[in-house]
Amino acid sequence: MDEPAFEELYRATAAGLRTYLYRVCGERRVVDDLVQEAYYRLLRSKFASENHEEVVRYLFRIATNLLKDHWAAAKKERGGTVKSEPLAAGPSPSTRLDVHSALGALRPADREILWLAYAEGYSHAEIAGIAGLKAGSVRVMLFRARERLVRILRPNAKGESR
């Protein structure tokens, strides 16, 4: 990948990658570091593909792995379980706030697959590739995460979970 192609890729994907990482981990400072590191590792990996979507998926995979490494390091440092920061509320009561705070009540793994499925539109197989899971597991995890999210977004809804 040459420099103009990389800059083009960065322009097209950086905001989406940032939002994904922010929705999953909720720490802006961490997001900045992870985004830089993800692009850096993409360049160093020499991953070559003509398919733009494939490159983006690979980038998301790198970022997801970096996030998991970050959590593992933080957990080790604190010597226990690491609780990701509550997702901070935005300035206006909007859809962003609804989704953001609803995601904040879920486990990071749920946030990750929900975002990849609904915001990025990835298939189960693609999510499995990004998150390092089996496609069958993604199907089940996504079903449960979606169930939990719907329960948070629509607390009064009846009969939505089977």
Partner: protein
């Protein structure tokens, strides 16, 4: 019974809207900075690898020389220990008293030289640092 898939379109729309509403202030030269960092690291690791490749024959030469010296010392010691009792009857008596044959002493010398070499290497690599 309501299928959760009913919510799929609604959720997709909520997430898409949430994604659209999120704005980030990008540093103007962020991509260029990452590119430069990756390129610099690539050049540096290329240079390190090339230096290592260039130094490989020299390292091999040192290794062969070290092994040759060690073999010479071992053989020399082996011969010295083997001939020692013949030159001195007292030593022969001492070996007999200790129930320690000259061959055992030679074998001990054979093992001792590489062991001392290794110990010195580990000492240099770990304790000194």
């Amino acid at each position: 019974m309501s299928d959760l898939r009913e919510h799929d379109a609604e959720l997709a729309e909520l997430f898409a809207q949430s994604k659209r509403e999120e704005t980030w202030q990008e540093e103007p030269h962020a991509a260029a900075a990452i590119w430069l960092r990756a390129r610099a690291d690539e050049l540096m690791s290329g240079e390190i690898q090339s230096r290592q490749r260039r130094a490989r024959p020299l390292m091999l030469g040192w290794l062969i020389a070290a092994v040759s010296v060690m073999a010479a010392v071992v053989l020399g010691l082996f011969q010295f220990v083997q001939t020692l009792p013949q030159q001195s009857p007292e030593l022969q008596e001492m070996f007999a008293g200790l129930a320690f044959s000259p061959l055992s002493a030679a074998l001990l010398a054979l093992a001792a030289v590489p062991a001392l070499g290794l110990l010195q290497f580990f000492w240099k690599e770990t304790i000194r640092r």
